[in-house]
Symmetry: C2
Subunit: 429 residues, 2 copies
């Protein structure tokens, strides 16, 4: 491993590419043990490493924290809000720190929030789900009833359709947390909705379902019957435990791949009817205003998207040398099939490696090794899903949809890597 220009150990991509990992001779320049142990001390003197306090004394015993929390040294890895973005905190959003996220599972404590009337805090013993309208048998379910059905678990993303919405007119917020952080991915547990609908039955005229939350906004959306009977789920579990209050405890509708707000949180009511309800949240909100003054309604699914999380505004390069670039891709229509990466603003592309497992409608991890010699870069990623759909540029999107909308901006981002390694969010013409 060659030491870089600041004397730090750096992986050597020539070594990393080799099958013979014991290639002893090639990795020259590694700092010797004696010279470097000084770095392991706090006083920076030569000699044996200083023994830190945590090795000198007993730590807290078991039972100290019946429910564990992150290290205090990770206090900067948190959801963040943007003060000027909304008029109130109760109808607003907090963003997942996606640049820091590892793997594909978003920690439940960091799952982005979008509330319409704040976080409902529900007693599950008092909670009920009412199913009525064009069903054979109108029914009321307790949480115990719902948990008694056969359950499944699936890894799926939830994304707000306003993710990236501030970029439509050219805003260039720093932090990919703000630019693409309204997405999170969890292992969701619950019962397929179609299983529960076997019990209520559906009348032939039932073509639409209204889903309503128990929060003070009574958040309400119309869902076509085909989705309700396809992969919709009544979820009570997230990442191995009860859903977190911010995500809809004790019960959330999950509509995989569709606008996050349709996965109605704190779900209390499902009504079946023969036409959509045209609620506030699908007329004045969550519609896409086109250049001709008309609005697209019911633009449900989230199209293929991607983000480079390293390098990124939060995680700049630290000196020249070998790096493995990394990021996420996802699609509301199925599996990610391919991710391409450009270092020169879209002129040349290389295909990234997708990491297993690649779940449908889930965050997918991609990486690409590279060597950086300090030159400026314009880094972009471009996702393609199994339907063949390719993520567009912002110019292509604006040509079709103008700049009035705040939803469904799944265009490629561009990170400008400066000679010092800092990264800035820019938009190409």
């Amino acid at each position: 491993m060659p030491a870089d220009d600041r004397g730090r150990n750096r992986p050597d991509e020539n070594q990393l590419g080799r099958r013979r990992f014991l290639a002893a001779g090639a990795a020259a320049g590694a700092a010797a043990l004696a010279a470097r142990t000084a770095q392991a001390t706090t006083d920076n003197k030569a000699g044996p490493p200083a023994v830190p306090d945590w090795t000198k004394q007993l730590g807290p015993g078991v039972g100290d924290r019946p429910y564990g929390t992150p290290s205090p040294f990770e206090k900067n890895v948190v959801r963040r809000t943007v003060d000027w973005l909304t008029a109130s905190k109760e109808s607003s959003v907090s963003f997942t720190p996606i640049a820091e996220q590892m793997g594909i599972i978003t920690p439940s404590g960091l799952h982005f929030e979008r509330h319409h009337a704040g976080r409902a805090e529900i007693d599950p013993k008092q909670h009920r789900l009412v199913v009525h309208g064009l069903v054979e048998r109108e029914m009321v379910f307790t949480m115990e009833d719902i948990r008694r059905f056969p359950a499944i678990s699936v890894v799926r993303f939830i994304e707000c359709p306003a993710n990236g919405g501030m970029e439509w007119r050219g805003a260039q917020l720093e932090r990919c947390q703000y630019v693409r952080g309204m997405i999170s991915c969890s292992e969701w547990t619950g019962v397929p909705l179609r299983t529960v609908l076997r019990e209520t039955g559906l009348k032939p005229a039932a073509k639409w379902m209204l889903a309503e939350g128990a929060d003070a906004a009574a958040m309400t959306r119309s869902v076509p019957i085909e989705k309700a009977l396809d992969d919709a789920m009544l979820c009570y579990g997230q990442n191995g435990e009860a859903i977190r209050p911010e995500q809809g405890y004790p019960l959330r509708l999950l509509l995989p791949g569709w606008e996050g707000n349709m996965s109605v949180k704190w779900l209390r009511r499902l009504e079946f009817g023969d036409q959509p309800w045209h609620t506030r949240e699908e007329t004045s909100k969550y519609t896409d205003l086109m250049p001709d003054g008309k609005a697209r309604q019911f633009t449900w699914f989230m199209e293929a998207n991607s983000v480079v999380t390293f390098p990124s505004p939060e995680r700049p390069f630290d000196g020249k040398g070998f790096y493995e670039m990394s990021g996420f891709a996802w699609s509301g229509l199925g599996r990610v099939k391919r991710v391409d990466v450009s270092l020169d603003g879209g002129r040349n592309w290389q295909t990234a490696r997708l990491h297993d497992p690649v779940h449908a409608k889930a965050l997918t991890r991609w990486t690409m090794p590279m060597r950086w010699n300090g030159e400026p870069l314009l880094v972009m990623s471009r996702a393609q899903d199994e339907t063949g759909y390719v993520q567009p540029s912002i110019a292509e999107l604006r040509k079709v949809r103008g700049t009035n909308s705040i939803y469904h901006n799944n265009s490629m981002l561009t990170w400008h890597v400066k000679p010092g390694g800092e990264v800035e969010n820019v938009q190409l013409k």
Copy 2:
């Protein structure tokens, strides 16, 4: 959905088994909406459901909790300790509430703990990993150095070899949390150890590796070089974020499928040598005392195991009717291939359904539908892994290993379901 003898809605397995989920006529007896909405009120009067407080008032806004936590109504889903089990809390264990766990990912806050000198609380900036001994280049790595290597994420269990250890001589603790709760499963992120060893090189004489923790116990184990070069990882991520302090923040060795204590937490040193070190933790501890007075040493891998989490002492049956039994299976040697379930103490067996994804060396979810008519049951599960190995009975294990050991009891458990639905942990002769 027929109402059961207590008037509650219950899934009907005849319905659940049908492809035509809209089978309207068959599910007789469902409580009508008007009759049941009374249950949704707190005052239990007839009429429209009472509107709960959480629908009448705004909840806390975004940013209220930059890092989310579970609902206060889930306060009983916690790690638990057993006071009489160990002389001190600093060298002890807390157990994962596996009966309540959903899916296959254990929430990081509930991952079981086993500490030998309490939980080390480490400043990652001060932490170093020293690699020395029979290497070509002795090196010291900062956390930044380690995180610069290409990373992977894998779903793997970690299990203490003392899991179930209190059962060797016939103790029958209640709660499957205590009987099998020293297992957890996470998405681990880090760099394959072999990648890092390309940088240090290894001398041909290097046959063993010593891994040492930075806790006050300086927990130390010998690892054969074959495992170090196979699937060993240097992990800094767990379930999407930095490893929790209880699990070794900022750096843990992961040896998938092997005794949990060998996945050394708070990893600070790797030494390479030509023979094992015979440390305290592989001589006086973590060896298996046989009936002839000799001890088995280096019994590294965790053999196929399983547990029924529903029904279980924590989750009894609640009246007659349809249930979907559920549990976990796992193997340190690869994928779970099959799980069989008996309701009559092992006379008759049925094959359970394994749920996707089935990862190697990871918790695997299985379920089996059944109808309970109130008769007493002796419920058992039996795992088989892809090597063909079949989980043994406690009698078979005792025949070979006697009752002196406290480690590697992977025998089948037996739950006695009583006529009232309560579940007791029993041992069959």
